[in-house]
Subunit: 293 residues, 4 copies
């Protein structure tokens, strides 16, 4: 069977891990924007002048987790200079060349309107969000360990939201011996949380339960830790807010009250880039080797 060909344009340590995993699965990888990555292997080709990428033969293009930015810019931490995706590249690919990105962006939308290609947004997949909840939970844990002078064991930890990420975080803290309270309004999440042994609360009980929390982790993308709620909180409570920007915390008010409140974006890539890369690689390789429908 002919080897599959993947072009990786930009990215960070996650993409280098993806390259490694592809190598293991017999996929040939072309890299654009990885001059500073010191890795040599037969099936890893660092594109040089781009003439060496056989575009019409390419099976898939991988963009970074952050997708395609304005002006077709691509984030690339291993690049020696700015990386700009040339429309020409995409144009030359075959019509079933798959474009894979972390998230959707308007630039990418524009590009794919012009050159329609099959298209996957990895971070919007349910399975990837669930797998990513592991490095997210461990990143949250790291911050809690660094920012408190007590142990997680025995701490009173409040977890807001019991979706894909909140469930793993609650489980992680609880398994270290924290007393975990889960806040969710969804009846089926409440049921699952209770089956897993957590006490549960509605968001409208928040003002009450923040009174004696040591750590509060938020995963609800809505202003739940409002001024109103924070007024009642212990000023010694640490807030770690994972919800997508701008988070669910009134950070200004928290600061005014002398509370430590941290917005924690992009934990998987920061705390465990290799694992985060493997998570993406696993799905990407399945897509590429057509194991999936």
């Amino acid at each position: 069977m002919k080897k599959k060909k993947l072009v990786i344009i930009g990215g960070d340590a996650r993409q280098t891990e993806i390259a490694e995993q592809c190598l293991r699965h017999g996929i040939r990888v072309y890299l654009i924007g990885f001059e500073k990555w010191n890795r040599h292997a037969f099936d890893i080709v660092k594109a040089n002048g781009y003439g060496d990428v056989p575009w019409p033969d390419v099976d898939a293009i991988l963009l970074p987790v952050s997708g395609l930015k304005e002006g077709n810019k691509v984030e690339a931490v291993f690049a020696k200079q700015n990386v700009i995706l040339q429309e020409e590249w995409v144009k030359r690919t075959k019509s079933n060349c798959v474009v894979i990105t972390g998230i959707h962006t308007t630039s990418l939308h524009a590009l794919l309107t012009k050159y329609p290609r099959p298209y996957h947004k990895l971070l919007e997949r349910d399975d990837i969000a669930i797998y990513n909840s592991i490095p997210s939970a461990e990143g949250t844990l790291l911050m809690a360990l660094q920012e408190t002078d007590i142990t997680i064991h025995g701490s009173r930890t409040i977890v807001l939201g019991f979706g894909r990420t909140g469930q793993t975080i609650a489980d992680t803290f609880s398994s270290l011996g924290a007393y975990v309270k889960v806040v969710t309004n969804a009846t089926s999440e409440k049921a699952r949380a209770e089956v897993m042994g957590f006490t549960t609360f509605h968001t409208n009980a928040l003002s009450d339960i923040v009174k004696d929390g040591d750590i509060c982790v938020n995963t609800i993308p809505a202003l739940v830790l409002s001024k109103e709620v924070l007024t009642h909180a212990s000023s010694r409570m640490l807030i770690i807010d994972l919800a997508s920007a701008p988070g669910g915390t009134d950070f200004d008010y928290a600061k005014k009250r002398g509370m430590k409140a941290l917005l924690a974006p992009g934990l998987p890539g920061r705390v465990a880039p290799v694992t985060a890369g493997r998570i993406l690689a696993q799905v990407l390789i399945d897509l590429l080797l057509e194991k999936e429908a």
Copy 2:
């Protein structure tokens, strides 16, 4: 505030527990078909000749988990004689009197077509299925403890399906030290299972993994433990099949091969009727006291 009035028609130990819980929440309970239940309390009225049920004033009617059977028969283990629901009763209730049943049946459908009333099928609710997964898992455990001569700890346990019930069963056996393999085809269930530490398999790998299983618990309502698959299974493997009748096992073939294969219907009511009653009571009381939208 006026006390809410609930009529419980038939049922088993779950319904008596529901009566107890209603009592605690200030609900007045009328019982039909509970002559053999020896319980006396001011707000528990055992209907006698039915003249003593103030039908026009009733807020809700509770049928057993099995619903309304043919000929409007109602299962009633505490009754001294057969219990038949009289259409007259329903007819006399007000139009917003809520009818609550475990499952949907054709008799009930016919009745409510004639006398439309708000209508709840408890067992079809997602939260109740999740809460019920606890007594289901413990019932499964009980059978496994009884039917094997090894410990669960260290046993190789296969769990088919990772939905509401399968997830709790896998967790239960694993927390006792079993080596649990989870079989699911859904990518997000697979992801959650792996986050929880299980190795996962596709159903098409079943023939392979049953080779060295000690215990196999099925929750998939489809013929997964087919003759084809069972041919490869260790003949010492115990099968506990929870999937709704007829289960997911070729029981005839299993028997032929000398395997122990058990269909295990209705575990919650059998293994922990009080807890099973409380699970229903909690939702029922929320409905009755209108805590829920």
Copy 3:
């Protein structure tokens, strides 16, 4: 290397499992008192008239867990008639033939005073007591599942003693979602229990905590559940008493109060004989193959 030779005199399903394990390890096994066990294999010899046991060549003799009873009787559930150990047999063995028993008895003491042989009491070993805590805990669990109408999940379970058995029981019930209170007077056991997430109490607080227990498991070999304490207990609390006879419960008084109190001796052999046999086999084989000092 010459094959080791083991004679198994009497016993139950644990001894048949030991025979199986010895077979796997290349040990030749002679059985006395196993006529009803239907198993044939080259290296398993059912002694017939005892002429066929080469006593001078035997490396070890295994007695049942219950040891050697009065009149040199040996418990043997697979025997067709009573099994009596003949002193002649031991007399003919070489002086370094090892005698292995479950527990010490006076008959055995007398025998070995007459014919001194190296001597091991398996049940008195710390490691075996720890391994056995698994089937003990699962046996306790089985009884709790059978004897209550609530789930273990959410139950208030009290564990008396946090030694080798109590620790595993507390962990087992807690991992199923019970709220576990641990009672111990030893400061280091208290510390370990708290590290494992349990709340701990001194025995002198017992009268207080039995007030709202659902299940109470005792492993303390002393009268801890005295009349004095039981007076305060909820009459619905189930007592499972594992402590060696006569247990740690005032059973008469419990009965008078209408409480269910069960003495539960010999759980490992009853609930999981194969595992219990393997636990013994593992140590026995190490001894026989001299892997141990």
Copy 4:
């Protein structure tokens, strides 16, 4: 009852937490060497010129965890200048004034030979070592999270030693989803580890199992990670060595092989001083209020 009087000489954030806890228990605290600690309360007296400590009335003296150093120096991070314990102070105390220290030192021995006083070494107590295993395990976790680019979940973690600290570390990593291998030569520790679900190995198998470890945590105070063993280790394996100085690792050789190997002394005080202080306070207060024999 007259208030107990405690003098705290030097220390760090653990001692300030001890002061706080004593305050709550109605103990009057005199502080020497805490000028930089900004805390005011009626029963907390910062000694000034030492004239204000009523020595003949003092019930106990607390030295830091590190004890009394050469020249009677005392570590004191909140002091503005060096703190030297004056023999005069001890001389003036009553003969049953208790001296409490973390560890034994020769200076302290000399002092107490001259002025005999009841004497407690907190860190040598079994219960404190067990409680301290929590912050030790969390400190180890923090280092592992910081120093690897993979998640703990799914990592292959080797824990050397299964004593008080090793047991908690193995449990902590395992509960986060690591595959934990435990190395111990003690049969009862091996049994407990297996009951808890770990695979176990003898130290003489070390060369073999380090081949595919991601993280190796050592708690054995002996040269176990010798040059001989490290030769076989994956060079990407992170070593965290907790064993008391000089640790159990050939650090020079590890460095030569390009391995990351970290000696991690005093984790409790560094990672969770408040919890570490509370652990000491709990025992100290029991001693002071004579709750203990």
